[in-house]
Structure formats: structure tokens, C-alpha cells
């Protein structure tokens, strides 16, 4: 047994070395990324926090109505927001919504093109799959550590950790949608002389739209599930009171903040369940 334990494979040292090297040699990349993320977060936050809360609630409710054309879901959303205001969690809620929205933009912006590329190149997907599995199964806390090293404390490492955890979902669903476009439709486009680009825009993407929308829904829900973990690296939002309640063993505060997260989750889910067609 001794030879086995004596020759420990240096996973620890290798990881350390890789991240150390990245920190020195790829600093420009991570700094640039941090600036871009920071900017995105600031912009969304400004939009949600500058107007009076009731105005924002009215606008969001109107947007939901425009999406659904019925009174039930918008009414639910409006009541939900009023409950949040009543409990005094407006600021935290806007911060968490900002994190979710920013994660959405980044995840869909990366996930859809990568999913399309993977669907067109089966060998790329064969390489990608274990990476996606790793991103979804590696405990979140593990990559919070390098996230802090690269980006410090705040919203940005929270967003990065969220993106790493969430982006496999839109990649997988976009891949599924594009790859399961009926052969007959792709052939019909071919038979009428479609270029690869025309095939993508006029056949594959419309055919994959339901799956891509499911990917968007997943992205939002999974991002929201990350708000507590993001709070551990200093991201503002609804996770902060939860973490505080945990530290003080304050059951009341914990349930109060937890209930707000549940309300936000249900509101987002119902608001985004739109029947296409």
C-alpha cells in the first residue's frame, strides 16, 4: 500500500501552478473581463434602481402583460412585487435580478453559438461533453476560490461562478434543438439551394426555438439558485440576508429572505412560460 500513498499524484500542486500561471500571464484577459462584467452589472443596476420602485413594478408588469395578453400572470407578478416592497427587500431583489439578467445575457450569448457549433460538428461536441459535465458537477465552492483570486470580492466573481455553473444548460439545449431539426426540412432547404447560413437562420434556428427558449428558462432558474452562493464571494442581493441569517442562526430572518427568493423564482418562471404559437 505504501507505494500507492507515497507516490501521490500532485493534483493539488498542478492546479496551484495552472492558476498561478494564469494569474500572471492572463491578467490582461481577466482584468478586461472584469471591466466588461462590471460595466454590464452597473448598467442593469442603474436601470432598476434609478426610478421609483412602483414605476419599475408597473413597467415590468406591463411587459409581462405584453408577453401573455391575459391578466392572471401580470396580476400575480404585481402582487409578488408589492409583497417584496412590503417586506423591505426591494434593493436586494433588484441586485439579484441584475445578477440573473447579466448571467442570462452572458450565458445565452455564449451558449447559443457554442450549441450551434457543437450541433454542426459532432467531434467538437464529443470533446465538449465531459467539460460541460465537469462544469455542472464540480462543487461550486471549488471554483469560487480561483474566482476570488482573479476577480476579488464583489458582484463579478459571483457572476462568473454563476455563468460557469449555468452555461452548460443553454449549450446542451441549443445543441439538442439544432441537432434534432427534422432531416426532411434540412433536405428541403438543401434541395432549393440554401447556403449553410440560410439553412441556419431559416430552418435550424426556427426549428430549435422551443428548445432554445427552454434553455433561457433554465438559465434564469439556475442563475437564481446561485444567488446565495454568489453572496459568499461578496455579491449583493437576496443571498446576503440568507448568509447573515446562517451566521447568526437567525431562523426568522432566514425564512423571510428565503421566501422572497421563492417568490422571485415563481414570478420569473410564470412570466417566462410563454406559449410560442
Amino acid at each position: 500500500m505504501n507505494w500507492l500513498t507515497d507516490n501521490k499524484i500532485p493534483v493539488d500542486d498542478v492546479a496551484e501552478a495552472v492558476f498561478g500561471w494564469l494569474q500572471i500571464n492572463a491578467a490582461w484577459f481577466f482584468d478586461g473581463l472584469a471591466v466588461a462584467m462590471e460595466w454590464l452589472i452597473e448598467a442593469v443596476l442603474w436601470l432598476l434602481q434609478t426610478p421609483h420602485p412602483l414605476i419599475v413594478v408597473a413597467i415590468l408588469t406591463a411587459a409581462v402583460w405584453a408577453l401573455h395578453r391575459s391578466w392572471k400572470v401580470p396580476a400575480f407578478v404585481a402582487v409578488g412585487f408589492l409583497f417584496i416592497l412590503n417586506q423591505g427587500y426591494w434593493e436586494e431583489t433588484t441586485e439579484s435580478l441584475t445578477l440573473v439578467l447579466a448571467a442570462c445575457v452572458v450565458c445565452m450569448g455564449l451558449g447559443v453559438p457554442i450549441g450551434i457549433a457543437a450541433a454542426h460538428r459532432p467531434r467538437l461536441y464529443a470533446w465538449l461533453r465531459p467539460v460541460l459535465d465537469l462544469m455542472q458537477t464540480l462543487p461550486t465552492f471549488v471554483y469560487l476560490i480561483p474566482a476570488i483570486v482573479f476577480f476579488g470580492i464583489g458582484m463579478v466573481p459571483g457572476l462568473i461562478a454563476t455563468v460557469i455553473f449555468v452555461v452548460p444548460a443553454p449549450i446542451r439545449l441549443t445543441h439538442l434543438g439544432i441537432a434534432s431539426t427534422p432531416t426532411a426540412l434540412v433536405e428541403a432547404a438543401d434541395a432549393f439551394g440554401a447556403t449553410p447560413r440560410q439553412k441556419l437562420w431559416k430552418v435550424e434556428l426556427p426549428s430549435a426555438l422551443p428548445q432554445i427558449m427552454a434553455g433561457l428558462n433554465q438559465t434564469i432558474m439556475l442563475s437564481l439558485s446561485m444567488v446565495v452562493i454568489a453572496a459568499l464571494v461578496g455579491a449583493d442581493g437576496l443571498g446576503v440576508p440568507v448568509v447573515r441569517a446562517l451566521n447568526r442562526v437567525d431562523t426568522g430572518l432566514g425564512f423571510e429572505a428565503g421566501l422572497i427568493i421563492v417568490v422571485v423564482a415563481i414570478m420569473l418562471d410564470r412570466a417566462l412560460r410563454v406559449d410560442l404559437k
Binding site: 433536405e187 432547404a189 434541395a191 432549393f192 431559416k202
Partner: protein, 341 residues
């Protein structure tokens, strides 16, 4: 018909599915069947050594049981199936282009302007309206929206669907959906139409009506049509010539009459035995050669279909003429003699 130009030429076309098609070809040349070739090489022989010249304006029917290679051969015309050996040449209006070797751009141009296709399962885009589906080919070819709308409206009138232009295709019945498929193929004004069992998924009544409509449209439009069918009655009804395929090989190529009166093999004879002869035979097949003098005052042309002769026979025998000259006579007895032969 003989002086018409060839617009599609299959020259010794072999199509093999698998990772190493060349391995299968020598075995196929030795006359081995698909099953044996698959056992020894793992390659599936789709079509072997098919040669046909398709003339402008004719309807050629590729006919056989499922798995006979008829669709495979059809799909080689617009490059949907790769050809392992031989060539498929398609007219671009001026010269013949070999679609097996031409570049992607040339192939796309042919598909956009010269060769249109109708599919068995329609191949319509379900999220689009009827009009948007009909305009697909024009859209892909980059025609401006105004011109597209005009052509689409005309095509929809032609197939009797103008009232349905803004409906989703899913709201239409199977027969109507295939009319949309036909309109889409006609819209690009392509002189060559490939039809892959277009009516097989439809009810018999609708099928028969669409066959009639296709023939009517063809009288005005004079396209070159390659039509795949597994139904001999359909093949005889619409084909000017029929190529009968078995196990990837063409076993007989000829006009419906030639095939009916002179089947080249057991396989063809089996097919023919199951069909209604009244749709095929003409006066030439059922007449008795003239033994001097004319049998009656009434005359009919030698190419008159037997269907039209039968009611006339009630008044006694008829004289058969070719270009006005008497050739023989038809009587109830001579018809019965031929049909029971």
C-alpha cells in the same frame, strides 16, 4: 420526341452507402446482389450502373418496390446523394453540368433555378404560412419580396389554395399540404422537377385527383419530370417512359405499352400481372391485322386507348387506321382474345 434535348443524363451511376464505397463496386460489377455485398464489405449498394437519358418535357417514372433504389437514384440528380462512380449531368440551359463533380456554388445555382423537388412527406416548414412556404425557393435565391409575393399568389391560384395563403401549413389536410409542396416546386420556374413519391402518403381518392391535376399542369407547363413511384398504376398513368428498378439495378426501361406487352423479367411480369390493362393497351394491341377489305365504315386511330374503344364496339367491329390507311380491325372477339392471353 427523339429530337428533343437530353436535360438529365445518368451515366453508369453507382451509389453506395458506407465508409468505403469503392470496395463494393467490383463485387457489384460481378453481378452480386445487395445482401451479399453488405455481408462481405459492410457497404450498402444503393444503385448500380444506372444509365438513362431524360428528354426535355417528358415524364420519366422510376418505379420499383421499396429498397429498389429508385429514390436514391432520384436524389442523385440534385446532389442530395453522393455518387460513388459514374456521373449525373444536368442541363443548366446551355451546357450539361456534372453534379457529381461541380463545386458547391454551381450546385446551389442549379438547385435554385434549374431543379426543384417535391417530397413524399412534403418537407414544409411548419412555423411558416402557406405563402411563405411556397416562396421558400425564391427567397433562398434572393428574389425581392415584391416579386416573390406576385409569383406566390399566381402559384397558389394555380393549385387552388389562394384562400389559404396566410394559414399555417399544419391547418391544411395532407392533400392540400402536398399542393403547397407542388406550388413551391413550380414557383422557382425550374424546368426540371424531381418528385419523390409525392402522392404516396395520400388517400387513394386525393391521390388520383392530384395525379390528374399534375398531368393538367404539365400540359401547360411542359416541365421535365422525374417521378418516383411504387405503384404501377400511377406509373402507367403519368409516365411517358418508365424505368423499373430491382435491388438497385434498372431491369427495364420503356414506354408503358412496351413494358406491359413485353415484360423483360419475372419481376416485371409480376408487377404487370397485377395491373389494369385497360389503362395501357391501344387499338394496336387488340386489333386483328387486315385480311383485305375493311370490316366496317367506322374507323379509329391505331393509338386510341382501349378504354375509349370498348363503348364503340357495341355497334360491331371497327376499322383501325394509321395515318388514314386501314391497318386491321377490332372486334369484341379480338379484344377478349388479347385480354385473356
Amino acid at each position: 420526341m427523339s429530337e428533343r434535348n437530353t436535360v438529365v443524363a445518368f451515366d453508369n451511376v453507382s451509389i453506395v452507402f458506407g465508409d468505403d464505397p469503392q470496395k463494393a463496386l467490383p463485387l457489384a460489377d460481378d453481378g452480386q446482389q445487395r445482401g451479399e455485398i453488405q455481408e462481405t464489405t459492410g457497404q450498402v449498394l444503393g444503385v448500380h450502373d444506372a444509365s438513362i437519358d431524360v428528354k426535355a418535357g417528358e415524364i420519366l417514372v422510376l418505379m420499383g418496390l421499396s429498397g429498389s433504389g429508385k429514390s436514391t437514384l432520384l436524389r442523385a440528380v440534385n446532389g442530395l446523394n453522393p455518387v460513388a462512380r459514374g456521373s449525373v449531368r444536368v442541363s443548366d440551359g446551355e451546357s450539361m453540368i456534372d453534379v457529381t463533380t461541380c463545386d458547391a456554388k454551381t450546385l446551389r445555382d442549379l438547385r435554385q433555378r434549374r431543379v426543384a423537388m417535391v417530397f413524399q412527406q412534403f418537407g414544409l416548414l411548419p412555423w411558416r404560412s402557406v405563402a411563405e412556404n411556397v416562396g421558400l425557393g425564391l427567397e433562398l435565391a434572393g428574389e425581392p419580396a415584391a416579386k416573390r409575393r406576385e409569383i406566390v399568389t399566381r402559384q397558389l391560384e394555380l393549385v387552388g389554395l389562394d384562400a389559404w395563403a396566410d394559414h399555417r401549413v399544419a391547418e391544411l389536410s395532407g392533400g392540400m399540404q402536398q399542393r403547397v409542396g407542388l406550388a413551391r416546386a413550380f414557383a422557382t420556374d425550374a424546368p426540371i422537377l424531381l418528385m419523390d413519391e409525392p402522392f404516396s402518403a395520400l388517400d387513394p381518392l386525393i391521390r388520383s385527383r392530384l395525379q390528374d391535376e399534375l398531368l393538367e399542369l404539365q400540359r401547360d407547363l411542359q416541365r421535365t419530370i422525374i417521378f418516383v413511384s411504387h405503384d404501377l398504376d400511377e406509373a402507367f398513368k403519368i409516365g411517358n417512359r418508365i424505368a423499373i428498378m430491382e435491388g438497385g439495378r434498372i431491369v427495364q426501361l420503356g414506354t408503358p405499352r412496351e413494358i406491359f406487352s413485353n415484360p423483360a423479367s419475372e419481376y416485371v411480369a409480376d408487377f404487370v400481372a397485377n395491373m389494369n390493362p385497360l389503362g395501357v393497351l391501344t387499338a394496336r394491341d387488340v386489333m386483328k391485322p387486315a385480311a383485305g377489305g375493311s370490316a366496317s365504315e367506322e374507323t379509329i386511330d391505331v393509338e386510341t386507348p382501349i378504354r375509349d374503344i370498348l363503348p364503340l364496339l357495341r355497334n360491331g367491329p371497327l376499322t383501325v387506321t394509321e395515318d388514314g390507311a386501314p391497318l386491321g380491325s377490332v372486334s369484341a372477339e379480338s379484344v377478349v382474345a388479347r385480354l385473356s392471353a
